[in-house]
Symmetry: C2
Subunit: 191 residues, 2 copies
């Protein structure tokens, strides 16, 4: 069974309240470019993530606003920042890495820094047909000279979602995976 | 069968001639710190790798001088520099990525940029005992939340070598491998 890969560059999600602290009262996100997941988009707004050791500028906010503020960077990014961040599912930010987020109008400090799990979005209506109903994790095989297998790729079944695998830039660069590449899912290869 | 991992940060090797162009006539490398491979060391000298798009400063020269100049960066580094570099065995630099190397006394342009293959150094005298005689590639399994399998890990049998697996920072960060971690080798898992 195949799945198309989308590579997620580092980005963040913000609450309405945090967006207004960072960009000013009444500020709203503007669509720069829609992404494949329905209703979601890359916005035109960027922030800087700063630590005592270093900083990362030009980190894009993905919209729309969410119920939690979450910063998704790669391990390579966190090493540069001198932070130790956990590998987590989206939304599971409690006790994650403390980051300082700087916008043009204000700055916030939040326990919001995670490394996102490798995951596959599965539309609820297709889960059974794809054999991915009640399957929490699968393995995904990568061909090529830097190929291999990724274990623990989480399966996220949800209504109104687009069938696609998401990986971060560390996985993309280590395995030399291209955006839009098709990879093979294995339910029988487990750790 | 287990092997200990050493994570190679980006670095370069230089010829005696190129070292003298970069650092001045008669310049010799000084040992900063020995590495596990006998006779080899991190030197006290650094260069900058520059492209039209960007630059990477503070890239360390590994000694002693070699018969070829070779720059070993990660895919993440090459993306930053705007370069496309091949995955190669050490020494196989012909037709690799063209890089500009800048030292305190001079600058050179060489087809020298590679992404090093994942590899295992095997002492010639232990190859048979380890079952790694005449085995060009093995697979290596990585445990943990970002775990998986690396295919095509090349086996380099040579006299006077130290039994150790070398990976670059992209593989280390994607798989969350720590320096000095022990991983399992599989000869029966192939692509």
């Amino acid at each position: 069974m195949k799945v198309t890969v989308g590579i997620s560059a580092h980005h963040l999600h913000v609450t309405k309240e945090d967006l207004e602290i960072l960009f000013g009262k009444g500020h709203e996100l503007t669509v720069h470019k829609k992404i494949n997941q329905p209703g979601q988009y890359a916005s035109t707004d960027f922030v800087t993530i700063r630590t005592e050791k270093s900083e990362l500028a030009h980190i894009r906010i993905l919209g729309p606003v969410r119920k939690y503020t979450q910063v998704e960077l790669s391990k390579t990014d966190y090493i540069k920042l001198g932070l130790d961040a956990p590998v987590r599912e989206s939304g599971d930010v409690k006790g994650s890495a403390k980051v300082t987020i700087i916008g043009p109008k204000g700055m916030i400090e939040r326990d919001a820094g995670i490394i996102a799990t490798r995951h596959i979005h599965v539309p609820e209506e297709d889960a059974k047909k794809l054999g991915l109903e009640n399957v929490p994790y699968v393995s995904v095989r990568v061909p090529g000279q830097k190929g291999g297998v990724m274990y623990h790729v989480s399966v996220r079944v949800a209504p109104n979602s687009y069938y696609e695998m998401h990986i971060d830039t560390d996985d993309a660069n280590a395995f030399q995976i291209k955006n839009g590449e098709e990879l093979e899912i294995y339910k029988d290869i487990t750790e």
